[in-house]
Each structure stands twice: as structure tokens, then as C-alpha cells.
Amino acid sequence: MMLAMLVLLVAWSAPDGGRAAPSARTLRVLAWPGYADKEVVESFERRHGVRVEVSLVGSDEALWQKIGANRGGDFDVFAVNTAELQRYIDQGLVQAVDQAAIPNSGRQLARFRNLGAIAGLTRQGRAYGIPYTYSEMGLIYDRSQFARPPDSIAALWDPRYRGRVLAYNGASHNFSLAAQSLGSASPFRIGTTAWPDAVDRLIALRRNVLGFYSQPDEAVELFRRHGVALLFANYGRQQVQLLRAAGADIGYAIPREGALAWLDCWVISRGARDRGLAHAWIDHMLGKQASDLLVSRQGLANTVEAPPDHGPDDRLLWLEPVEDVGRRERLWARVMSGDRLGKVLEP
């Protein structure tokens, strides 16, 4: 009897070899900061009895790289704006979305529910994304350093604010910004001869800024520590909310050239393991919890209710696919590394 007891005790104290294997169903989500907060993910995991693996991206380039890395096989569902979506459809990295399989799409505002009316969302009658959130990229300014709100994006190049401007580390938007500041009618289409001017303009921007941020948190920290006067809000109202929460006395302006605006949609990757689960995730993201959190925590607009402070005269430039993403990125990487004009324009 004693021996049996000893054997049992020894067996109990032995390392446990029988850990539960991880759930076979794992949803791999690639999202932007603030899109898939912990509680939203957890409520989805609880409801569907699956594990969700969330990866975050901070730029369109990173997103393109990650999805492209394994021909869309590394993620099931991800969020991308309508402009960027075009190259994913071109390359067959996404698959069509079945709106009928997403009951919560019925809660959306009419302009987001009508997928065919949104440029770039449908191709040959098939929808490839479900609108989730949108934001315009306005200018955030420090009220104490501006007597009047900046009314043009030229303020980013204003030498009076040299070393006190924060820009965003992103190739496409920055080239669009440069084109806008150069008076281009279509900032998403840079003409063959216009490239040197655009690059020169970006080098000038580089020389005028304090630095380039990638994540909203990073921008808040730099803004506060370095007495930043002007910030290009790539994440839009989300950053207004963050900075105000951090105690900054800021204003938010839409420049007269028009603010670039993005509309982020949930899309299903070509390599999605479980289409049903991916649709369930999108449906979950249109639910009350996720939609409310977008507004209350991130300061972003959701697609189920109109924001209260939306200015009627605000000019928004919905993002469109750019003429040559690869070129913009190649050139931007050189600009960002500190190369001078001749070096950047080298073939």
C-alpha cells in the first residue's frame, strides 16, 4: 500500500506531459493598432471557441509585404484601405466576400452598405471588402504655436516650424502629399517628369521635420517631448483623441487642398483556412462592441453611425491606387535613409 502511495506521489510530481494541445482552429488576423482590441478578440474567441492570433501593421508597405510574403497564406483576414485593395485584387491575394454571410452589415449606414457605389471595392460584380472604419488625414496643430489653424499642407514645409513638424513614415501618402503641395490635380498619379520635383519636395520635408513616426503612440511621445507644432495625422481623429488624452492642447484642421482619406475594409485573404470563420470575424467587427470601441477608444469613425463633428465643407480625397507603388516605396526608402537628391534618383 505504501509503495503504491509512493509511486503515485512520484507520478504526481513528475512533469506534466499531457498539456492540452492548442485549438486546431486559429484565426490569423492582420490589423492596424486599435482595430482588434483584446476584449473584442476575447469575446470572439469565447463565442466561436477558437484562438485568434492578431498581428499588427503600422504601414501599407508592411501590410503589402506581410500578405505578399506567402501569397496570402500567412493570414486569414486583414484590414486594408480601398486604394491599397486594388493591388491585392490584381495579384489575387484576396477572395470575394459574401455580404449575405455577414448579418451585421445590415446595421451599416447606407453609403457603406452599398458596396457597388464605393470605388475600388467591387470588381466584375464581386465585392472584395466590407467597410469597417474611415478617417481623413488632417493636420493636428498645437494651439499655443498657431494663432490661426493651418489651412494648407504647405505648413508642413514652413521653415518657421523647422524641427517641430512630425510626418508619417509612409511612401504612398508622402508622395501624394508632395504632389498635393506641388499643386497636382491628381496626387495619386505622378507624371513621369514630375518625379524629381516630388522627390525634391520630400527631401525638403525631411529637412524640415523633427522626424517620421510609424505608430500613433510614438507620435504622442515625440509630440509632447519635443514641443511639436504640427503633425500630419496619418491615423486621423484617432490621433486627436490620443493626444488630447495625453493632455495636449491641439486643434485639428482639414487643409484646403483636401485631406487624403482612407476607408479601411476587412478582406479575406486568398490563403484563408476557414472562410466561415473569416466571415464570422468580419461580422463580429461590425457588432456593437467593436463599433463602439472604435469611436470611444480610438476616436475613429465606424460605419454604423455618422460622426457628430463631421464638417460639411471638408474636402476629402478618397485614396486611390497610386501609379507605381513599387517606385514610391523604393524612392521613399532612400529619402528616409537620408540620401540626397542625386542619390535618390539614381536608377
Binding site: 509503495l3 509512493l6 498581428s55 499588427l56 508592411a62 535613409s337 540626397r340 542625386g342
Partner: protein, 582 residues
């Protein structure tokens, strides 16, 4: 199986012995495991502290290197020089300085002198390449005013050193450092009058530095390093270090929740046995080192872990040894218990046997009376009691014998009485029937005895009877029985086949013996006898027939004159209604 006291006592004692050795073994085993874990924790914590100190020392040394370069007069001179030729010459001198440093420190990827003017243009830049050191020149030099290590460093006072957050280096054209985890250390270069002219930046190869420092750590240990945010910078699982660079988070305080106190600043070290998400249970020690001297509010948490099964490897061997010892002691205690049980129950069994034997055979067996313990006392008491019973039984037996004798013998003559005679006759008849032998009965009474009794009194009669008895016993063989049937009637049983002549000889001997007068107190007393003889099987089949035949023969003898004998006649169909036996 009979569960005797020996077996039960033995099993109980054995169980106690096995329990005692088993529990001792078990507690020794668990205590040893706890001690091993504790020792491992202390060992890991010590190694961790040493390594953390080395990391801080390495960072401080690198910081010192950067500061020394920034304070070198050639750095300021190169930045101040406006003449093209002189500027080039002084840049060459700085480059030589940098190359010397890089040659001495393989953990540095790159050393640069950057101007505060010209948008942070790199003025002197030496990169490490696979093939050696490369000096970057001309258009390849880049403007860095927009990167944190430049705009942050330019705001530092003289003598200050900027430590960047560890990150993967994505700068184009960074040669060996590109795509590798690196730390930028920078110090401002001040000119006269407190004007900041630029900065010196050193790129520290994090992986190389860490591997060099961790070289002294025994292999098999897991190394973890995290900065203020908790993001892993070093992790045994490659994908978990610098996960933030790939847009993911892998936080130390999530994988090891015990470290939350370290990040919150509530404690400076923790040791714990934990099971991280990434695998088996480990014993881990974490240590927080503040880097306030290097960068305000910066700190890192260093962790060292060892798989629990490796820590407990020694205890597994110990467990096997303990188990063997426990088994050996259990067997020994079982054996001892059985011996002890036998030692106690052996004497008890001896006494039981003695009691049984005494009860059945009334013989005292050996008893353990020499023992000086309770069993000895019990044995002695029992021996005393046995002796007492024995003597009482002996006395009882003597009385019994006496009573038996009285019941079967005539008190006056000492001869067997009628009852005993008939008993012996029955036995003799039974024996004769079985063996086919014969026997004879001589029956007689004393002539003139009544006269003696009447004239001389009963006392004289009694003397006569006693004398007669004495004489009769002298003439017969010991195996033959002489009995007094009562009054003056006697009978003699001759056992075994004898011829008529032999029987007659006995009769004549009797007659002759009794014919001799008896002298008593001056009287000469004379008695005679006539004897009737009957034989089995000739004169009767059973005792009464034989005695009756002898009786009748005696009367016929008397009728033929006294002092003779007469054999009985063959039996007639008639049985006598009355006889001497009634």
C-alpha cells in the same frame, strides 16, 4: 490461512516499519527537490546578476567610447573647418580614429561623425562589412537630422550620451548592421562657446555583444532580455525577439507574469518556476537593472531559465536511490517484524503445547520458565499451577485405587471378592472362547467352620478365614485367582488348559493345605474341605453355569465323604433353580 497472533502482529509491525521508511523516503525526496529548485534559483539569480552587471558595464564602456570620441578635439575641428582641403584632412584623421575603435571593438557595426548643420549630414562614416572596414564617402553620405539618435542627441548637454531603444536597423547602406538588432549610442560634439556642432554615433551590435557576454553562461540555460516596454530583445525562441519589428508583440510580462512587478518597479528581482507559453516548465530568475545613468527612466530585465527537468535530474537519481533504500528497509523491517513476532509468540506457542499435553497426557512439557520477562513469569505461574494440579491428581488417583481395591476385595482376607471374581471369570471366559483354551473353577466351603464360629466366637473364625486365605494363595500359581465369595465359601479360578490330573493335583494341594490344623491361643483348630470342580467348556458355557456345576460337584463330593474332590458332571438340560451364586 489462519490469521494467528504471530501473523497479525508481524504484519502490523511490518506495516509500521514500511510506513516509517516510506514516509521518510518520500519526505527526503520532496525536500531534496525543493532544495534543488531553491539552489537552482539562487544559482540562476547570481549568474543573472553577474551578466546584468556585465551588460551595464559594457553599455557604460561603449558610452564612454562614444563620449571620448565626441570630446576629441579632432571631431570638433572636422566639424568647424570650413576650408575644403583642411576639412578633408581633418576628416581623414577622424576616420583613422574611428577605424582604430572599430578594429578594437568587433561589437561595433559603425561609427559616424554627423554634422548638426547640413541637415545632419554624415561627415565621417566607417561601416563594418563582411570583408572588413569600409569608409563611406561622397554622395553615399546621408542626411540624418530626422532620425531620433540625431535630434535627441543634439539636445543633450556636453558629456551626455544618447542610448537609443534597441531596434532592427532598417537604414539603407548600413552594411553589416543592416537588418540586425542594434543600439545606437551617440554623444554631442560641442565647440567653443557651448555651440553644438554635431555628434558621434556608434552602432552597437546587440546580438554580438550579448552573445559575447553570455558566453560565460552555462549552455542549456534560456536567456531573456526585455527593455522598458517588455518586448523581448533576446529570447531562446528566435521569432519572439524583436517581434514588434514584425508588427507583433511578445512581452516578457505576458509570457512570465511574475515579472510584472519588475516592470512596475515594485521589485528588482524575482525567481519562480513557471511554464511559459513556449514550452516546458522552467526555473527562472529575473533581474531588473535600471539604466538611469545612461538614459532617463530606461531599464532592462534580464532572465535566465533552466528547464525544471534538468534541475531535478539529480533528484530523479536520488528518487531511485531513495526508493531502493525504502524497499530494502521495508524488506528488512518485514523480516525483523516476523522475527520479533516469532520471538514473542514462540514461547506462547510452547506454553500452549505444554498445556495441551498436560491436559491430554498429564505430562508436563518444557516451559520457558528461565525468561526474566512477563512470559517467564507466566510460564513459572503455569508450572506452579501444573505442579499443584499434578499433586492433587496423584492424591485423587491413590484414593481411587484404594476405593477400587475396597470394592473388589474382601476386607478380612484381602482376597478378591465375589464381584471381582466374577469379573475375572468373565474375562477368562472371553479369552478362552477366543483362543479355544479351557479353564477350571474349584468351589469349596470350610467344613466345621460354623462350629468354630459358634463355639469360639467370630474373632477366631476370622483368624481361621485369614489363615485359610494365606494357605490357599501359597498353593496356587500367581496367575490363578483365589476369591472369597462370602462366609466360608471360596473359589479358585485356574486359567489356561490343564489336564484333569493337573487340576486334581491343585485340588489335592488345597485339601492338604487346609487339613493342617490351625494353632490359635492354645486351640488346635481343624477345618477341612470338599471341592467341586467344573471346567469350561465341558461343564458350562457361561460363568453361572460353570459356578453352579462346581457347586453341585462340591455337594456331591461332600456326600461322598469329607476331604475329597469331585469333577462336575456333564450338564443336563435342566438348570438348577438355585445355586450358590443365587
Amino acid at each position: 490461512m489462519r490469521f494467528g497472533i504471530a501473523l497479525r502482529l508481524g504484519l502490523l509491525l511490518a506495516a509500521i516499519g514500511i510506513l516509517a521508511s516510506g514516509l521518510t523516503g518520500y519526505y527526503a525526496y520532496t525536500a531534496s527537490r525543493a532544495l534543488l529548485v531553491q539552489a537552482a534559483e539562487e544559482r540562476l539569480l547570481t549568474a543573472n546578476r553577474v551578466l546584468a552587471r556585465q551588460i551595464v558595464a559594457a553599455l557604460e564602456n561603449s558610452g564612454q567610447d562614444v563620449r571620448l570620441l565626441a570630446e576629441h578635439h579632432r571631431a570638433a575641428a572636422a566639424l568647424l573647418e570650413s576650408d575644403r582641403r583642411a576639412r578633408s584632412a581633418s576628416e581623414d584623421e577622424v576616420a583613422a580614429l574611428f577605424e582604430g575603435l572599430l578594429a578594437k571593438h568587433p561589437e561595433y557595426f559603425q561609427v559616424r561623425l554627423i554634422s548638426a548643420a547640413e541637415h545632419g549630414l554624415e561627415r565621417v562614416r566607417i561601416d563594418r562589412d563582411d570583408s572588413g572596414l569600409v569608409r563611406v564617402l561622397g554622395d553615399d553620405l546621408q542626411e540624418k537630422s530626422h532620425v531620433p539618435y540625431v535630434f535627441e542627441t543634439l539636445k543633450l548637454p556636453a558629456g551626455g550620451v544618447y542610448f537609443s531603444s534597441p531596434a532592427i536597423n532598417h537604414e539603407r547602406g548600413a552594411h553589416a548592421g543592416q537588418g540586425k538588432p542594434a543600439l545606437q549610442l551617440a554623444a554631442p560634439v560641442y565647440g567653443t562657446g557651448g555651440r553644438v556642432l554635431g555628434l558621434v554615433v556608434v552602432s552597437l551590435d546587440m546580438a554580438g555583444t550579448f552573445n559575447m557576454l553570455a558566453g560565460g553562461v552555462p549552455s542549456g540555460l534560456g536567456l531573456y532580455l526585455a527593455g522598458r516596454s517588455g518586448d523581448f530583445l533576446v529570447h531562446p525562441v528566435p521569432g519572439r525577439a524583436f517581434a514588434f519589428d514584425r508588427g507583433q508583440r511578445a512581452l516578457m510580462q505576458e509570457e512570465f507574469p511574475v515579472t510584472a512587478d519588475l516592470f512596475a518597479g515594485r521589485r528588482d528581482h524575482v525567481v519562480s518556476s513557471v511554464q511559459p507559453d513556449s514550452g516546458e516548465t522552467v526555473v527562472a530568475a529575473f533581474n531588473r537593472r535600471d539604466l538611469d545613468k545612461l538614459r532617463q527612466g530606461a531599464f532592462f530585465v534580464l532572465g535566465l531559465s533552466q528547464p525544471l527537468h534538468e534541475v531535478l535530474k539529480e533528484s530523479d537519481a536520488l528518487g531511485v536511490t531513495t526508493l531502493r533504500i525504502v524497499l530494502a528497509f521495508s524488506a528488512l523491517s518485514f523480516l525483523l517484524a516476523m522475527l520479533l513476532a516469532h520471538a514473542i509468540t514462540g514461547p506462547l506457542n510452547q506454553m500452549v503445547r505444554a498445556v495441551r499435553r498436560f491436559a491430554s497426557d498429564r505430562v508436563t512439557g518444557p516451559l520457558p520458565v528461565r525468561r526474566h520477562d512477563e512470559i517467564g513469569l507466566l510460564a513459572r505461574s503455569f508450572a506452579d499451577m501444573q505442579g499443584q494440579i499434578q499433586s492433587q491428581m496423584d492424591a485423587l488417583h491413590d484414593k481411587q485405587c484404594e476405593l477400587d481395591h475396597l470394592a473388589s476385595h474382601d476386607s478380612l482376607t484381602g482376597l478378591p471378592n465375589r464381584r471381582m471374581f466374577l469379573d475375572r471369570l468373565d474375562h477368562a471366559l472371553a479369552r478362552a472362547r477366543r483362543s479355544g483354551e479351557q479353564l477350571a473353577v474349584l468351589f469349596f466351603d470350610l467344613d466345621r467352620f460354623k462350629d468354630i464360629n459358634d463355639t469360639l466366637g467370630h474373632a477366631v473364625g476370622d483368624v481361621v478365614l485369614g489363615t485359610v486365605a494365606e494357605r490357599l494363595q501359597n498353593v496356587v500359581r500367581e496367575a490363578d485367582t483365589v476369591a472369597r465369595l462370602g462366609g466360608d465359601e471360596f473359589v479358585i479360578l485356574l486359567d489356561g488348559t490343564r489336564g484333569d490330573e493337573a487340576i486334581a493335583l491343585v485340588a489335592r494341594k488345597v485339601i492338604d493345605a487346609l487339613a493342617e490344623p490351625i494353632h490359635f491361643e492354645g486351640h488346635l483348630l481343624s477345618v477341612g474341605v470338599s471341592i467341586g470342580i467344573s471346567q469350561y467348556p465341558r461343564h458350562g458355557r457361561d460363568a453361572s453355569e460353570i459356578v453352579a456345576s462346581a457347586d453341585r460337584a462340591m455337594y456331591r463330593a461332600k456326600g461322598e465323604g469329607r476331604g475329597g474332590y469331585r469333577f462336575a458332571e456333564a450338564p443336563t438340560a435342566l438348570s438348577p433353580a438355585t445355586g450358590p451364586l443365587g
